[in-house]
Amino acid sequence: MSISSYSAAIMPAEDTVRPAPRLILRSQLDDMALLWPWVEALVAEYAVPADTAFAIHLCLEEAVSNVIRHGYSGEPSHAVTVDCASPGERNLVFTIEDQAPPFDPLAPGLIDEPAAPSPEDYLRPGGRGILLLHKFAGSLAYERLSGGNRLTIGFVLPG
């Protein structure tokens, strides 16, 4: 099954249209346009407050674009899978999986946070992305899979 047909196949057919719990993107930045409406649907479904919704958009944009640009080195036609689950009353957990070479965004040393950053710190593509991911995620966990990577980003919703 191709990526695009799979994406279509997971749309629910019930009367109550709920957002699909999984989004599969191709490893090209154009596909990032699919993230926003998917997250917006989930935000509406789970009544996520605006500041948490902003943090979700931010973390997913940084994490997924990082996989596309660095994990797959810009090679198109690989897959990036994003799953959303709500394991507790007021928790939302996003899991991003890829089949790229090992990359742990939580590795020590990746978050350089100089007291006085220079413009160059921002000008590297995604230069501040990992830092923002760390600051805006509720929780972060990384696992190396056989032949891929899994990043789990959690958010606690106010109860």
Binding site: M32, E61, P125, K135
Partner: protein, 111 residues
Amino acid sequence: MQISTQDLDGGVTRVELDGRMDIAGAAAVDLKMNLIAGSAKKLLIDLQKVTFLGSMGLRSIVLPARAVHSRGGKVVIFAPNEMVEGVLKASGIDSLLPIHHDLAAAMAALQ
């Protein structure tokens, strides 16, 4: 993503950004931002209508700001919403570019 400019008193160029400064939004304004930065000496980057800012959006602000600074000019950021300001501060950009919420104070900082 929309971008427009306005000449204010004292040689200040106000560039108003409107929309989401995500990857697509940043790409949409990069060229115009760099053109504006190529001639502006006092640049007020108005973020009032920006609803989202990611790392690529930060880059789209810092790159033109660096160009203005390199010619001895000044750049300030004006009126980001609370969440956008959170990104600016989390990234440390406020140490390079002052953030103002009062237009008179922003204008004074550019003189």
